[in-house]
């Protein structure tokens, strides 16, 4: 258990190296050194910059964390048993728990390959996870590293981002009834989207207008208007039915739209092998398992295409993610690492039979 004494220092090192999306390589030298110290037998960087470390031979259990953070450097510090700084929660804490948990379980595993991946660009376009799917990566079970407060994620919503724009002939602001405003057209569309996707909880689709730009001059009706709208939707909604509704609403308002990002929702049952293994690991440690459904979207949505035995798990309060208050208690990190180790043992037993 000497490894666990280093847990805080390992997380601090990960957090103090600033790695917003696209700049993950800054941490590769440290990960390479750490992989060697933790007993991983192989470490390499793939074509898009995902860092992989693995040991063992047999069916693969993939622990997929991400190395990037949202932009916004924060001072990193270790204080009163907590690591503060950008990424402590989302998601370098979960990644550290994966590396430590895999190292703890190594001696007890047989005929199984454990791979920890530090993926890139989870916070932007999910390139790292998409690359694994496109390359035909194979794994029997996957745990995605996200802050779930040690809860076991059984669902994430899907995400559809669209760009909508309107054009109009404009006119003088003193006689708007004689002119035509692109902004009015766009607002009519946005209001219709808002009425349709106005949820206030997980089960209901929601929308958020994240960008809005219009107007060329204070005394003229806008000739151009542009917006970006993000819609989140759970199972059983599908992107095709949402897009079909959007198409009709856009036609009614005279607006053009383009889908710029799409991730389908994911939902798995409690009898999914990896979820059962995580539950049993927690129960063996005297922890009551807690299932969670996440309102956001993560690499779990993408990696589900590799195996349906998938979940997301990790230490950290998700309410602190993407805030300036990110911090993680070392005790939670150590507990998560022990849960991961026990889960790997649980899974490997069942993979052999």
């Amino acid at each position: 258990m000497d490894l666990l004494r280093e847990a805080g220092r390992i997380l601090l090192k990960l957090v103090e190296t600033y790695t917003p999306s696209g700049e993950e390589a800054r941490l590769h030298p440290y990960l390479e050194e750490l992989a060697g110290r933790l007993g991983f037998e192989e470490a390499y960087t793939d074509d898009v910059g995902n860092f992989h470390m693995s040991y063992g031979k047999g069916g693969t259990i993939l622990l997929a964390g991400h190395l990037d953070t949202i932009p916004g450097k924060l001072p990193a510090r270790l204080e009163n048993g907590e690591v503060h700084g950008r990424g402590a929660v989302d998601a370098k804490g979960p990644l550290a728990a994966f590396m430590l948990g895999a190292a703890l379980a190594r001696e007890e595993l047989d005929k199984v390959r454990v791979s920890v991946a530090a993926l890139v660009r989870e916070e932007t376009d999910g390139l790292g996870a998409k690359h694994l799917v496109e390359q035909g990566y194979r794994a029997e079970h996957i745990i995605v590293g996200e802050p779930t407060g040690l809860g076991i994620a059984v669902a994430y919503r899907g995400s559809l981002t669209l760009e909508a724009e309107a054009k109009a002939r404009g006119g003088h602001s003193s006689a708007p009834y004689m002119g035509e405003s692109a902004l009015d057209k766009l607002l009519s569309f946005i209001q219709e989207v808002g009425r349709r996707f106005n949820g206030r909880r997980y089960e209901e689709p929601t929308h958020a207008v994240t960008m809005l730009r219009a107007g060329e001059w204070s005394g003229s009706l806008p000739e151009n208007a542009h917006s970006v709208i993000n819609i989140r939707f759970p199972n059983p909604y599908s992107s095709s039915e949402i897009i079909s509704w959007i198409r009709e609403a856009a036609e009614r308002s005279g607006v053009r739209y383009r889908v710029i990002d799409l991730t389908e929702p994911v939902e798995v049952g409690v009898k999914t092998p990896v979820i059962r293994a995580l539950m049993r690991a927690q129960l063996r440690m005297g922890i009551r398992p807690r299932l969670v459904r996440k309102t956001g979207t993560s690499d779990m949505n993408t990696l589900y295409r590799i195996t349906p035995s998938i979940t997301a798990f990790g230490p950290g309060d998700s309410r602190l993610a993407h805030t300036t208050m990110e911090k993680l208690s070392i005790n939670d990190l150590i507990t998560a690492a022990k849960i991961i180790a026990q889960t790997l043992i649980e899974l490997s037993t069942r993979m052999k039979t």
């Binding site: 996200e146 407060g149 539950m279 009551r288 956001g296 993560s298």
Partner: protein, 58 residues
């Protein structure tokens, strides 16, 4: 696999013999989330589990 009855709809579910007290199950027929309870005599029964929590984040 031994069967236990669902406390919500009365239907039956297969529960693995090695299931641990506290393990969660879903009754696919009625959608109930259930938790395995084992008493001091080792007899097993299912009770309704807490609802799946909603958590922000991605």
């Amino acid at each position: 696999m031994p069967k236990l009855s669902c406390p919500v709809c009365g239907g039956s579910l297969d529960i693995p013999e090695d299931a641990l007290p506290g393990e969660l199950f879903e009754h696919e027929e009625c959608g109930a989330q259930l938790e395995l309870e084992v008493d001091d005599q080792g007899s097993r029964r299912l009770k309704e589990a807490e609802e799946i929590a909603e958590d922000w984040g991605e």
